[in-house]
């Protein structure tokens, strides 16, 4: 038996060596290249070099497949992440409900997994077919990494299947720990996959490890991987995936809640919907901060790219983004407010809801008001087409930052109120503690407003800097309230929560979330790609294809809607499949 294990380990080791070999071999080839031969630059295809196949629009195809793959992959990567956390909570609290729910989440994921792979394959095929020069160049830059990716994918499949199918076999005691370890491996592999794919995408935006003049490969694979935008995108996508996964399973739970008649099953799905919404908000709250970082890094990498993003044509995009984010926040808050009714104590908080609503709607309005956006279509034309003369929206960014930070704070307040609604503090200093938290909110919000004013009157260069204290204020409020709450709610009396005591209408908020998230992700994908303007690989390889232009927001919006609809259709199919699996025919008598 022991020998068997050793031989297996050895086999794994050999496998690892093989995975690394292509990279080692290519590195050796590089050394030879450095010794003598001239370096070959990035390819410069002409328009005629782009294959045209049956009148298909290459970019729209690649766009669609890439986005579908991304949607599915984000979902498939995210669910195991919070499944394992839930599994752990279930193990700690000995509450079987968590474990069953994590299992149910995984069941949905399993049906989506093969579709993810299918779309990934189709995407790769499309890219190699329509953009052979670009793909050839990327292969040259990333070399053996493509093989590592393929192998990791294999490993992902293996661990995912084992993790899911061993669930009931490894459910209690020490075996549970073993099962969670498998989940950990699964998540590690999944994240590595995402990080590698991110490296390719960010290399195209901010190439490194190549000669800036010619694009000739002069660095190692690692240097190309570790390009300036890699880590900001890694973090942003990691957090967004969690929010996204939560939103999608929330939609599933909401549907099941509406479709069910039996009270105890309804209660289960109400609880599942609540948990999913919690995950979605928890992932969503830090997201703007990761966004700030990404944007700051884009500016640091290239002022020009930063301004392309925030000014001119794409500026309107951030208005649309604001509407989407506002919609998400309102929906999430609305769901929390409805949830207050689940406890008798919650009703006493309900009277504050209207004030929170005022702040959130007000913040939302400030955010979407485009009055200081000076550019109209004609003005942009007048100013020279693709290039942007004014920093337009940056001028009013402080106002928008203030609005979004206040919205975040008040969304958190909703969450905190909801959390409190089922717990009655018993510590002696409860009243004093509440006052400390109230003071924290008052001062924190004042600080956000003042930093906003400061940002408003300082020169542009300082505006971004002034947003940092705002972000830290928001985080401070959240972190300190959580800390105080933890101590204050120690040994708190739990109020009876009537799961399932939810209006039908509240469930629709849970449908808004996945729809808005999906569409928003599509929109952000469009802007990320548009930042490269007419370059395949920014500053290194020009895009000479007929589609080297940035589509209008309307065109992009229509495309994203079609993609979102296809994704929704697929998810309906996936949900149906996972339900089909647990349905059995009654044996005819």
């Amino acid at each position: 038996m022991a020998l068997n294990h050793t031989s297996k380990l050895f086999a794994l080791f050999i496998l690892a060596v093989f995975v690394l070999v292509p990279d080692v071999a290519f590195a050796a080839a590089d050394a030879a290249k450095e010794a003598g031969e001239a370096l070959v630059g990035a390819p410069k295809p002409t328009r005629a070099d782009y294959p045209m196949i049956g009148g298909l629009n290459a970019r729209t195809l690649a766009w669609g497949f890439a986005q579908m793959h991304l949607f599915l992959a984000a979902f498939v990567l995210a669910v195991p992440m919070f499944s394992i956390v839930m599994e752990y909570i279930g193990h700690l609290t000995k509450d079987e409900r968590y474990d069953s729910m994590a299992h149910e989440f995984m069941k949905i994921t399993m049906s989506a997994y093969s579709l993810t792979a299918l779309f990934g394959g189709t995407l790769a095929l499309t890219l190699f077919l329509f953009y052979p020069h670009l793909m050839g160049y990327l292969m040259k830059v990333f070399r053996g990494q493509f093989l590592i990716y393929a192998l990791l994918f294999l490993l992902e499949s293996v661990t995912l299947y084992i993790y899911y199918y061993s669930w009931n076999a490894l459910r209690y005691g020490n075996r549970k720990w073993f099962h969670m370890s498998i989940g950990l491996v699964l998540n590690t592999v999944g994240l590595s996959l995402m990080f590698i794919a991110n490296a390719w995408a960010t290399f195209m935006m901010s190439p490194s490890g190549v000669d800036p003049a010619t694009g000739a490969v002069i660095g190692t694979v690692w240097e190309a991987t570790r390009n300036p935008l890699w880590n900001p995108v890694n973090l942003h996508r990691f957090i967004a995936n969690i929010a996204y996964g939560g939103a999608i399973v929330g939609g599933y739970a909401a549907y099941m809640f509406l479709a069910e008649k039996r009270a105890e099953v309804k209660a289960h799905y109400d609880w599942m919907g609540y948990t999913s919404n919690f995950i979605a908000i928890a992932g969503f709250l830090p997201l703007p901060f990761a966004g700030y970082w990404l944007m700051a890094e884009i500016y640091a990498y290239s002022q020009q790219m930063g301004i392309t993003a925030m000014g001119g044509i794409l500026a309107w995009l951030f208005i649309i983004q604001a509407v989407l984010i506002g919609t998400i926040m309102l929906a999430a808050n609305y769901y929390l407010w409805c949830g207050l009714m689940r406890t008798d104590r919650g009703a006493q908080y309900a009277k504050y809801v209207k004030y929170i609503a005022v702040v959130i709607v007000g913040g939302f309005l400030v955010w979407v008001t485009p009055h200081s956006l000076i550019l109209t279509t004609d003005e942009i034309r007048l100013l020279g087409g693709t290039h942007h003369k004014f920093l337009g929206p940056l001028g009013i960014m402080p106002a928008k930052n203030t609005a979004v930070n206040l919205m975040l704070v008040f969304t958190f307040l909703s969450l905190q109120m909801f959390y409190r609604s089922s717990r009655v503090p018993t510590v002696s200093w409860a009243k004093a503690g509440n006052m400390v938290i109230i003071a924290l909110y008052i001062i924190g919000c004042t600080n956000i407003v003042f930093a906003g004013l400061y940002g408003y009157i300082t020169p542009t260069v300082y505006k971004v800097g002034a947003s940092v204290p705002q972000v830290v204020s928001t985080l401070s409020i959240i972190v300190f309230s959580v800390i105080i709450d933890i101590f204050m709610l120690r040994g708190a009396k739990s109020e009876k929560v009537h799961w399932g005591r939810m209006s039908e209408r509240s469930q629709y908020a849970l449908f808004v979330l996945p729809v808005a998230f999906t569409w928003l992700m599509g929109l952000m994908g469009y802007i990320r790609s548009s930042l490269r303007t007419h370059w395949h690989v920014y500053t290194v390889m020009k895009d000479q294809s007929p589609d080297a232009y940035i589509p209008t927001i309307g065109q992009a919006g229509n495309t994203i809607t079609v993609i979102t609809l296809s994704f929704m259709a697929i998810m309906v199919f996936v949900f149906w499949l996972s339900r089909l699996g647990s349905t059995s025919q009654v044996k005819p008598s």
């Binding site: 004093a432 006052m435 003071a439 924290l440 008052i442 600080n447 300082t458 800097g465 204290p469």
Partner: protein, 45 residues
Amino acid sequence: MSKILSNKWLVLILALGVWAAYFHTMDWMLMEAQGLPVQMSLMPR
């Protein structure tokens, strides 16, 4: 101490002061770390 804690309004005023000090220090440090003009007059020129 417990006397102070028992009067919630007193606690509120104290807490307001403490948090104000905290946020002010944080602002100051963050601004200075970024090389921003912390002492700039808040009045528009």
